[in-house]
Structure formats: C-alpha cells, structure tokens
C-alpha cells in the first residue's frame, strides 16, 4: 500500500479537492483506494467524495470515533466497516474507493468526540501508544482492506496531526501552495523539515511533490519567489521539461467552474468534464502514481481528443465555407456522452460491448452519429459493431490525435458503414440534407437541393468555383484542380432547380460582390490576388446563365434587396445578353442620369437641385431595375382586344359599357383554367400566340410584364413545362428591352426599337423588330445550351405569327451581321432587308 498525504501550509488551495480527484481517478483505473480525512479541525472530504447527508445523519463512524475507541483501550479493535463508507466510482474497472471521513461533522456529536480525543490521544506520550494508535489504523487499513493506495487529507499548517500524517505515515507528500510569498515560504519550511525527518527502518525515503495551485496569468514572477520555487524543486519533484535539466513545478490552474462547484471529475471519461484544471490533474497523476502513469496518459489523450472533437461539433467552423455557415453546429443537448452499448453481437469470439464517447442525436432523439475513441483497438471492429447493432448513420473513430480521425458512413436506408474520404465532422442538418453524409458528390448535393435543402446550394456554388479555377491553386483543403466538366454538371444541375427559394439562393450566391475584403482574405490566400477576378468570372459564367435558366419567379425575387434598401442586384445576366450577344452596352445608371439631366434641363432649377435630381433619378433607376420584371395578373392587351372585337354590343353601346363588360369577361376567362386553356389552344391553333401582347409585354418605360396564367395555359396547350415557357418569354421581352435601352459605340440608345403601345388592335409592333428579337432570343438560348429552353422556344414559335418564326433562317447569319441589322433597326426598322420565311429552307 502506498500512502500519499496531501498537505498545505495554508488553507483554501484545493487540497481536499485534489485528493478527491486523485482517489476517484485511481479507482477508475482499477486501483483500490482508501481516502482518509485527517483534517479533524475542518473535515470536509465527505462533502467531496461521499453523500454528506448520509455521513451526517446516518454514519456515526470515522477517524475520530475510531481513534477515540482505540485510545480508550477498547477490548477489541473497532470494525473498519463501521468507520468507512463505500464511494461509487464511475466505471466497472474493478477498483473501489472507501472513504474514512473524520466523522459526522459538523454534527455536535462529532465535535464532542473530537474534544474527548484531544485528551486521550496523546501523541507525545512516552509509552508510544499515541503513535501506535496511528500506526495501527494505517496498518489495519493495509492488512484488512488491502488497498493499493491510502490517501490522507492532512491538516493545514503546523499541527501535530498534520505533522504525523506527513512525516510518519506517508510515503509521498503532496505539498500544495498558492502563488504568494507567504504560502511559498511556509511550504518551503515544511518541505525542508519533511526531508530532514528521520524515517523508520521499514520506510522508504519520503517523496515530496510540491504543487502550485490556483495559478493565474498574474502569478508573481519576482526573484524572491523564483528563488523559493527553485529551492522547493531541490527538495521536491517537479514536472520534467523537454530537456533533462528543465524541471518545473506542477501547477494547477485556477478554474472558476470546478473550483467553485468543487465538482470531482477525477476518472471522468466524459469530454464535458475536461478542462485545463482536469488536464493539469492528469499530468500530475502521471508523476504522482507511477503505476497509473500510462493509464493517466491514456485518459489524458482520450479526453483531449474527445473534448476537441466535442468542441468541433458544438462550435462554428473557423473555415469560411458558406456551406458551413448555414449548417448550425450540434447543440450540447443533442450530444450524449459516455454511452456503454451492450449487444449480443460477437466479433472474433469477443463479447460485444462498445463505449461511445459521444452519441449525437437528432432533435427527435434518433441516434445519428457515434464518436468512439479507439487508440490501440482494431479499427474494423468498431464500424462493424455499430453498423450491425445500431441504426447510426455515421461513426467517427478518433485516436490520440483527433485530426487523424476516420469517418464511416452509410445510406439512410442502412447497409454497412464504409470508410469515406470526408474529413470535417458532419453537422446535424446534413443528416437531413443528404442520404449519406459521407457522399457529398455533386449528384448527392443536387438531390438535396431538389428536395428543397437550401444549405446545399452554397456547397454547390463553392464547388463550381473550385472546379472552375484554371490551374492548380492551393486551397484550404489542398490543391484545387480545374475541372470544367464538373463545373458544367453543377451549372446544369443548378439550372434545373424547381424550388424557388433554392433558385433564389443560387442567384444570390453566384452574384458578384458577395465577399468583402475581410471575407475574401479569409477565403483566399493572402498572396493570391485572384479574388475579384474570380468573382467576375462567377458573375459571367455562373450567375449570368443561371439568370436566364432559373425560374423567372426566383430571378425576380433575387433582384429584391435583402440586406439593405440600396443593395444593387447583379446585371451580369443582362450584360451577357447586351454586351456579349448584341454587341451593345447596358448601363442603366448612365441611362437614368441622362434622363435626369434631360428632365432637369427642362425644369427651371438651380444647379444644386439639378444635382439632387440626378441622385434621385439614379436611385429611381436602381429601383426600377429591381422592379423591372413583374408577374402580372392583369389581362394581356391582346386578349382584351380579341374579346372586344368579338363583342357585338360593343358596336351598339357606349365604350365605357363595352369596356366594363369586356373586362368582366376577360377576368372570368383568366380565372377559369379550362376556358383559358381552351382559348389558348385555339389561339395557338391559328398561330397567333404572340409573345409580346399575349404572353407578356414590354413597355417603353422599361417594365417587363409576364402573364403567368396565360403562359401556364399556353404551356399546357403546347405540352411544355410552364417554367421554361416563362423563361423563353422573359428572354424574348428582355431582348426587346436591351435592344431599346442599350448604348451603341456612338453612345446612342435604340429609341427606334419601340414595341407597340397596344392602345388599339391595329397598333402592332414592327415584324422586323419581332424577327430580330426572336433571332437574338434563339442565339441566347443556344448560348445557354439548355435543351428545355430550346425545346420550349421552338415549340412556341411553331404556334406564333410569322415574324416569330423567322429566327431559323437568321441562324445562318454571322453574329456580326445580325448585330448590324439590329443597329439599323434601332435607327429605322423600315431600312432592313430581312430574309423571308422561304429562306429558312
């Protein structure tokens, strides 16, 4: 039996707490331990180790009653069982812990017994009976209980009992002190005395381990203190540094939580119990209990590793992937610690039970993920065990180095857990997003998006960006490679999104200007200066095509400011059309300013007012940009005129009466899907399905209106998905807008390219203009390489008036030629010499 006394010259250093932790720690290692409270004047070990209520109300034994009975010369030795209490230890490691408290303190009976003992237990009695009584207690514990360790909580200060517990009974003395000169000087005096005390013949030389407690950053560092510490280390053991000569004091950091609550964590395998103080305890125990040193090291490694993993799981990620930003970490309440799972399962003849250090559950309580520490264990057993006996979808095996963890996952439907290449730990939301959290392939993420999981959008946009980088450039996860086919797969997948929220999210994330300088620096390496170029590339190659391919409703929503009123939406989509295709420049701000100057020139106002007017117009321009596209429930002009012309009474009654009647009829038509579909079928049958005027309209003011009810009915009539027909109409009307609003190299806008105001059925737009618009619509759709749009466009044009069908022969024209025609049309439509329908052959 090894006897370790815990002593402190001054109180309040955490001595009893350290002893309690050491006792519990040793017991969990399978050691048998007796903790003995010799702090008779202020006993409290039973508060830390046992249930103090039991000690006070039920238990009448303890060291004081025991020694009193001995000192009174009891005929037979008092039974130890009545004077010790069994303390529960957290694991079934085979060790036990018994506490011999001082007595039922602070009950009156204890203090009465203690007073009586003072007169009876005369330690200096020349008969030696006082010493024999103490020796006998120690020897009885050794002979009858046979513990591996006896830990004694010695009295503070210079007292008889404190002295005997340390100098006579102990093999090792832990001397605790705090970082002040008074505490150090007193400790030094006692330590010197301890080392000078002669030992009994049967005893080894005394070991002294000084421990600096409750350390903070403000601990004194003056020469006197340092020299005292140095002297202390000459007498006692210290922590070995990296060099053989380097030795330092064992230091226990101040811990507000553990220190205040006096919670005993020794032997605790739960990561939440891990703290700097607990870590320091374990480092001390490695040295203090050589037989448990390896176990202490293992426990320390395990706890550090699991606590690190737990920290990773419950905190935001430091890496700035937007995908991660959207995935909240695990709530602490979702993580259960220390679950021993027993199963009938056997592996290679071994009984099946495994210890999950962390068990992560869904909000509904379903176990999703196990984190197990497996240092030294055969790795293949763990995933097999968890796979066969539980329904968890992910197993994380972690060793002493938590950065080298291994992740095993399986599909939501079950199957074997397979090792995956994934490195970062899955977040709870990912178990909803993905069928298999180990499969973060493009297809898997696209499937998640198809199910409306918006978080996967950010991942896909990131992956597109990483795949689109030309050349091998180092990224946070290693070198990035240029993978254009993968980028295209992502682009096509994103374009197919039906969910409007996801589609809007795609556009917002793909838009330029997402990264401010700080985020860009975080996202990209300091010496890598491509951030802005990359954003430009994203705007052109990702945002612009998606702007035209994603559902119009999402496009419209994406243009609305989300963070602040003046937020500017990306114009990359319009610029793809205007700049790249039509050879014109789209600059709505410039247009707005020009208009503002024109207006203010007409108004008699001061210069100041003119400046203000320009700003107002600029804001208005931006607002109009946002509100440019509208999905309107109003009646399309073509439909209204058609009704009016069919209305016989129109010719007899007043215009007001006719308008009212026609309005009601058209409204009724629009509200009846069946009637509307029938009407659109009829219109398409006579090839009168005009884009401008019926499916949508573009006003010279810049507004683009789409009539979703009519478009849906037309799409049904044509047998095409409405979303693609809507996009075709949107593109067509946007070509109108660009043809009119953009600048040529002379800085002229296309005022000649005006659609019909539709004030009467006779007012029709120029067929030449329509044909040109269709030609550019076709060019853009071909550029987008979207078969759905292409199909919708072609099917629609077969049911449209002739000018809408002439895009086919115009395909043969070089783009430059088409641009020239457009320039001329912007100036004067009549001057064109366009090919006829026959030329399409």
């Amino acid at each position: 039996m090894e006897t370790v006394a815990f002593y402190s010259y001054k109180g309040g250093v955490g001595r009893s707490l350290l002893l309690a932790n050491a006792a519990r720690f040793l017991a969990t290692l399978g050691k048998d331990v007796v903790a003995l409270d010799f702090d008779f004047e202020a006993p409290g070990l039973h508060y830390k180790l046992g249930d103090q209520r039991d000690v006070r109300s039920v238990f009448l034994g303890g060291a004081v009653p025991y020694l009193l009975a001995t000192a009174e010369g009891a005929a037979s030795a008092p039974p130890l069982e009545k004077h010790t209490i069994s303390v529960a230890v957290p694991t079934d490691a085979g060790g036990w812990l018994r506490l011999m408290p001082a007595g039922p303190a602070p009950e009156q009976t204890y203090w009465a017994a203690f007073k009586e003992l003072g007169g009876k237990l005369r330690l200096g009695d020349p008969s030696g009976q006082g010493f024999m009584a103490l020796f006998d207690l120690q020897a009885r514990i050794a002979d009858e209980l046979k513990p591996d360790y006896l830990l004694i909580d010695a009295r503070t200060g210079v007292t008889e009992l404190g002295s005997l517990a340390t100098t006579i009974l102990a093999d090792t003395v832990v001397c605790m002190f705090v970082a002040n000169q008074e505490s150090l000087d007193g400790t030094l005096t006692v330590v010197e005395a301890l080392k000078g005390t002669p030992r009994l013949g049967s005893q080894r030389p005394i070991r002294v381990v000084p421990v600096l407690s409750r350390t903070t950053a403000k601990s004194p560092e003056d020469d006197r203190f340092a020299s005292g510490v140095k002297r202390l280390l000459e007498f006692g053991e210290g922590k070995q540094g990296q060099n053989q000569k380097d030795r330092a004091l064992f230091a226990l950091p101040h811990d507000d939580v553990l220190g205040a609550s006096e919670r005993v964590v020794g032997g605790e395998r739960k990561a939440s119990a891990f703290s700097p103080l607990y870590k320091a305890y374990l480092e001390l125990f490695q040295s203090l209990f050589p037989s448990g040193a390896e176990s202490a090291r293992n426990v320390l490694e395990r706890l550090e590793s699991i606590a690190g993993i737990r920290g990773d799981l419950t905190s935001e990620r430091s890496e700035s992937y937007e995908y991660d930003d959207l995935l909240p970490p695990w709530g602490a309440s979702l993580i259960q610690e220390g679950v021993l799972y027993k199963a009938d399962y056997q592996h290679r003849g071994k009984e099946g039970s495994r210890y999950a250090d962390l068990l992560c559950r869904s909000e509904g309580g379903t176990p999703l993920m196990v984190v197990e520490y497996v240092a030294g264990d055969p790795v293949d057993e763990a995933p097999e065990f968890w796979g066969k006996n539980t329904k968890v979808r992910c197993v994380v095996l972690v060793g002493p180095n938590r950065w080298e963890h291994r992740i095993f996952t399986r599909d939501v439907n079950g199957g074997d857990l397979r090792r995956v290449e994934r490195w970062d730990l899955p977040r709870p939301r990912e178990f909803e997003l993905l069928r298999d959290v180990g499969d973060r392939s493009v297809e898997s993420m696209l499937e998640a998006v198809r199910h409306g999981h918006i978080e996967a959008v950010a991942w896909l946009v990131n992956e597109w960006r990483d795949s689109s980088l030309v050349g091998d450039i180092m990224g946070p996860k290693g070198p990035r490679h240029w993978r254009p086919e993968r980028a295209q797969r992502i682009l096509d997948g994103l374009a197919a999104i039906e969910d409007l929220d996801c589609a809007e999210e795609v556009l917002r994330r793909a838009a330029a200007g997402r990264f401010d300088h700080r985020r860009r620096k975080r996202r990209f390496r300091d010496d890598w200066d491509f951030g802005e170029d990359l954003e430009q590339k994203m705007a052109e190659d990702l945002f612009a095509p998606l702007f035209w391919r994603l559902p119009v409703e999402a496009v419209q929503k994406s243009m609305e400011p989300r963070h602040y009123p003046g937020e500017i939406s990306s114009l990359a989509g319009y610029r793809l059309m205007a700049n790249d295709l039509m050879g014109l420049r789209y600059d709505p701000d410039r247009s707005a300013l020009e208009d503002a100057r024109l207006m203010s020139a007409r108004l008699p106002a001061s210069r100041d007012h003119r400046d203000e007017g320009e700003i107002v117009w600029l804001h208005r321009s931006r607002r109009e940009q946002i509100e440019r596209v509208r999905l309107s429930d109003e009646a399309p002009p073509a439909l209204v005129w058609e009704e009016m012309l069919q209305e016989e009474p129109y010719r007899r009654s007043t215009i007001e009466e006719a308008n009212e009647k026609v309005g009601a009829k058209v409204k009724e038509l629009l509200e009846s899907n069946t009637s509307l579909r029938r009407r659109l079928k009829e219109v398409s049958g006579r090839r009168d399905l005009a884009t401008l005027g019926l499916l949508g309209s573009y006003e010279p003011s810049g507004n683009i209106d789409l009539y979703p009810r009519v478009i849906t009915a037309a799409a049904e009539a044509l047998g095409i998905p409405p979303r693609y027909l809507k996009s075709v109409v949107f593109i067509h009307l946007s070509v109108w807008a660009m043809a009119r609003e953009t600048y040529d190299l002379d800085g002229q806008r296309g005022y000649g390219f005006a659609p019909s105001p539709r004030t009467s059925p006779i007012d029709r737009e120029s067929p030449t203009h329509v044909t040109l618009v269709q030609a550019f619509t076709d060019r853009l759709i071909r550029l987008l390489k979207d078969p759905n749009l292409q199909d919708a466009f072609e099917k629609l044009s077969k049911h449209q008036p002739e000018p809408y069908t002439l895009w086919a022969p115009l395909r043969k024209l070089p783009l430059e030629k088409l641009r020239m025609l457009l320039l001329r049309a912007r100036a004067s439509a009549a001057a064109l010499d366009l090919p006829s329908a026959d030329d399409s052959q």
Partner: protein, 164 residues
C-alpha cells in the same frame, strides 16, 4: 487482575511501621493498607464496568503503593510488594513515564534483590506486550521502541520538528 500480592494478608502478620503524611501527621501503615485495598477494589470495579475513571483510580492506587514502598524497606516483603504494585498501577493508569521513573528508581537501588528486579522488568515487559497486543496491526510493521522514539522526538521537536 490484581496489582498487589494482597495487602490485607501481610498487614495482619507484621507490626505496622509509622508513615509520615505530606502534612507531617503520622499515619499508621495499616491505614494505608486499608486505603490501598479499597482503592484497588474500586479501580478494578471501574475497569470491569468500563467506566472511564478507572485510570484515575489506578493512579490513586499507584500513589498509595508508592507511599507504602517508602514506608517499608526492601528487605521486607511488604516493601517489595508495594514497589511492584506502584509500577504496575502506574502502568494501568496509563502513566507510562511515571511507571518507568518508579521502576528505574527501584532497579537502581543496590539493595534491591534480584527477584524484585526480575519482577519489575517482567511487569514492564508485560505492559509492552499488552500495548503490542492492543495494536496488533501496528506491531507487525513497527516496534514499540520506534514508536516511543518518535514520541520522544515529537515531544522535543514539536510538529515537523520545527521547534527543536
């Protein structure tokens, strides 16, 4: 256990020598014998019933025996009996130092017969054995001599030996 060889028996056979008390009054040894007999009976009764004043009673016995020892010379059996009784009662009283001081004094007397010295040493030895018997577990690991040595050092140097 009786600590004397029976004061009543020898008192009846011998004439009572005079005994001078502390106040200077002359006391007959017969009276002392009567007192010591009563004290022994009382101490034995207290001890038998586990009453905690037994040690005080034995201290009283030891003092009376010591007085008797002063009154009777070594040549008389009453004197030898009283000396043995004084040491034994002191040990029973837990007054180890006094017992040893008395024994040392009696043993140092050149007139002390060998049988008395043997008896006194046996009394002390029996006491050691009794202590060892009370602390059987301690006795397996440490000797009583060690304990007494520690006690001495402790008396001299105080806690941690800092007062030495």
């Amino acid at each position: 256990m009786s600590t004397s060889d029976g004061p009543a028996s020898w008192a009846s056979k011998n004439p009572s020598p005079p005994f001078i008390s502390q106040r200077g009054s002359r006391v007959e040894t017969d009276a002392l014998n009567t007192l010591v007999s009563g004290a022994i009976w009382r101490a034995e009764q207290l001890e038998a019933h586990g009453i905690r004043f037994a040690s005080q009673a034995w201290a009283e016995v030891s003092s009376l025996e010591e007085e008797l020892a002063k009154a009777f010379p070594l040549s008389e059996s009453e004197g030898r009996i009283a000396r043995r009784g004084a040491v034994r009662a002191a040990l029973k009283a837990g007054e180890y130092a006094r017992a040893h001081a008395l024994a040392d004094g009696y043993l140092a007397d050149e007139a002390a017969p060998r049988s008395l010295k043997t008896a006194l040493r046996k009394i002390l030895q029996e006491d050691d054995q009794a202590i060892a018997g009370r602390f059987q577990h301690a006795a397996k690991h440490h000797t009583l001599r060690e304990a007494r040595d520690l006690a001495r050092r402790f008396r001299e140097g105080g806690a941690f030996g800092l007062a030495a």
